[in-house]
Amino acid sequence: MADNKYAAYICSGCGIGDAMKVGQLENIAKKEGKMAIVKSHPFLCNAEGVQTIKDDIANEAVTHVCIAACSRRAKTEAFQFDGVAVSRANLREGVLWVVAAGKDHDEVRQEMAADYIRMGCAELKKMTQPAGNRKEGSSKRILVVGGGMSGMTAALEIAAAGYEAVIVEKTGALGGMAAQLWKRQPFKEPYSAAQEVGVGETAAKIAANPLIKVHLNSTIAETSGAPGRFLIKIAQESGAVSEESVGAIVQATGFTPYDVAKLPKLGGGQPNVVDQAGLEALAKTANGGAIKRADGKEVKSVVFVQCAGQRDETGTHLSYCSGHCCGTSIKQATYFKDQNPEIDTVVMYQDLRMPGMGEDFYRSAQERGVIFTKGKASKVSGGDSCAVTFKDLILDEENTIAADLVVLATGQVPNAGVDLEAWNPVVTAAEGGDEAAKVQRDAMRTTSVLKLNYRQGPDVPQFKHGFADSHFICFPYETRRTGIYAAGPVRRPMDILQATDDATGAALKAIQAVENAALGRAAHPRSGDLSFPKARLEGCTQCKRCTVECPFGAIDEDEKRFPVFNEERCRRCGTCMGACPVRVISFENYSCDTVGSQVKAVEIPDEDEEKPRVLVLACENDAYPALDMAGLARLNYSAFVRIIPVRCLGSVNTIWITDALNAGYDGVMMMGCKKGDEYQCHFVKGSELAHYRMSKIGDTLKQLGLEPERVQTQEVAITDNTRVVKLINDYVAELDKLGPSPMKGFG
């Protein structure tokens, strides 16, 4: 573009000017960096310094600015200019603070600074300011799948914020599991008595709300599109199909109680042994009167067996705890005690789990005379007189207790649809022509909740135990399908109180998703990012790596198996860019070229100078901050490294590595987040993919006649400021032993 004008501003403050020859850096920016304007300033981040830049933007039509000062993580707000592309050369945290002080290091320090100027200018040349705002997705309506307590709450909260909600509920009425309860656990002080569930009132509010539309007896036949432009086909029980356009989805599909029939040892399936839902049914029938068993006999004694089929370490039943069941059994015990204090009620538990204010409810049940026995039931027999055999863990003895009724506190099984881990191999086999797999695929598809027509499968990826939860502690709604948010017990085992809170949070995220989609902005964690991947499809080889590897299922395939990018689903991590073997995918401000040109901009000294060069590609989320903090702590690392921050290791294209090695770098080190089950990668698989890709780079290295040690991949945590220093210094020492790269001088 003819209109681009490039300028570089070099700060000599914070001691940069004392330790480096700024004049020389200016010359490099001008001559090598080809910057139209180059200025230095003793205190660039202050108002006057920033004004200098603003004036040049206004008066000199500068469109691209290279700031050579502190880290991109510092003074971020000061160096933001609307509509102007900015690159940052990190002279402070990246050079001044990490290169040993003193004259002996003047030369290498200056070389390092000079390279960062070259890199900053080179990057800038390849950047364009993202235009964004494609305005493809403009629907701000929100679909809520499931009409239970979570779904109803989400819809009401969405409407209260002024947005339209559409509920799809598979049964003939709203209420879900909550509608089957006699009462619910107390959710506000004084936490001493079960409270009305309030399903009727909530459903009435929904009926009266003009912003909420309800489809009963309906399921989703297909979901296509992306945030801001989802198209939902809704199948009614009658067979009719209708369509709704929505901008985002809240999935509140709830849970199913664990099947008691799987617990024959605990009396599952025998007369007068019920699960918690069964007890609710009896209590509803009793309607405040004496609770009677199925055979009509009034219950005079009842035992609640906690953790039935839960917290199971044998792998047979649920391994997790469902969280709500202690409170639910306590509530149910109060049904009996409040009706007749003479009824014997025993809650048999291993750990009584009543967090927060729930402790008050526990106490209130004790006040009523509910007996709590720490014991583990080994056998329950049903019948006219039930018996529970158990180990009393306090009295340390085996015992048996008789009761008219036994209630098994079973767990929550999420209604999360198809498990993609199981789905993908079936689909691969089906696509390979396996007929049985095709049948299986179609059968699996019928169990799907959302029936997404995404390349990567019909439902949201599950986390653990089949729950559609986020893997992130700080970001519970950070989902792997942009614009789709799980809420309630489908996300995590929970009680009604938590589910309603959760539904409210999910409602916000859905609102945020439609707002972002309308503006063409990325969602978390690169929220606000207006760039999106562009592909030169004419160069595409239809290898499908990008469609398979995208962590967010953003890329579909057309009939010819070309990738179809859905920008609104994209999270701008660049994994597709890293995956692409022919390098046709790029972002306006982050591309194979923006990084590749930096790699190439570095001056590689001759072999005899004994100044190795090591390229470090550092993930901007954890590794780069750790490197910055090493600087902040004034820890020294080798001045032979040149560090480039990347969005995610998943975005690292192997071309950068081979380019670097061809250019004569002595080694390349990648620093990414933790991978594996407890991954830390904000883009899920970036670090893992990088490790995988680098494991395959051996052949290339061999062709170049290079040792495999010349490429390293490391997992780095944000707290590793001392460790990154050691990693770098050890690596430089290791390369030193290896000797200079034989490629030197050929680049």
Binding site: S301, D344, V346, L352, Y362, R363, Q366, E367, G369, I371, F372, T373, K374, A387, D392, I394, L395, N399, T400, I401, A402
Partner: protein
């Protein structure tokens, strides 16, 4: 079903708990225990307890009537109140222990010859006699509780202390012939009799 089995089944019913709630001082608080065990660890005579307070509470809930009421554990209480101030559920454990001991004692189920049981009985009888405790007769009766020979032996072993107290004017040999007492002894006795009558009626001892 066999009798033994029936007993076992009955065991975990709330019957004994209800009995304790009705008849034992602060017995209604037994059900509030959450089995943390801080009482058990707080007792200065802890190692002397066959069953710790928290375990006794569980035994009560489990219906172990004979084991609880026949136990000497409650008599190990020194009334130091450590358990009570540390109990996170604020159970008046000291009082419950006193109450259980009293109940077991009144039912005649408490261990025979349990020294604290005997001493405590002696103490009460001593104090109601005159309205105030006669330290000398209390001490002597205590030492002679096991008979004349044992008493002389025990008293002799303590005689230096007695002599010391005597010299320090903190023991009055004349107390053996009467000593301190309230003047309105009749009224005092009437109060105790009436109080006992009311309590016995409530706890089912009057019949």
């Amino acid at each position: 079903m066999t009798t033994a089995n029936q007993t076992a089944i009955e065991r975990y019913r709330n019957n004994f708990l209800r009995e304790v709630e009705a008849n034992v001082e602060e017995g209604h608080m037994v059900k509030m225990c959450m089995q943390c065990g801080v009482c058990a660890g707080s007792c200065p005579l802890g190692p002397a307890w066959q069953h710790s307070p928290q375990k006794i509470f569980m035994m009560i809930r489990a219906g172990k009537r004979d084991e609880v009421l026949g136990s000497d554990s409650m008599f190990m209480c020194t009334s130091c109140y450590n358990c009570m101030v540390r109990c996170p559920r604020q159970l008046p454990i000291t009082h419950i222990m006193h109450g259980l001991a009293n109940y077991a004692h009144r039912l005649g189920l408490a261990p025979k010859g349990q020294p604290t049981r005997d001493f405590a009985t002696l103490f009460w009888n001593n104090l109601i006699k005159k309205g105030r405790v006669n330290e000398l007769t209390l001490t002597l009766r205590h030492y002679f509780r096991g008979g004349l020979v044992a008493g002389i032996k025990e008293a002799l072993s303590m005689q230096s202390i007695g002599l010391g107290l005597l010299l320090a004017k903190r023991l009055n040999p004349m107390e053996i012939f009467g000593g301190h007492g309230v003047k309105d002894l009749k009224g005092f006795h009437a109060i105790i009799a009436k109080a006992k009558e009311i309590e016995d009626r409530k706890k089912g001892f009057s019949a």
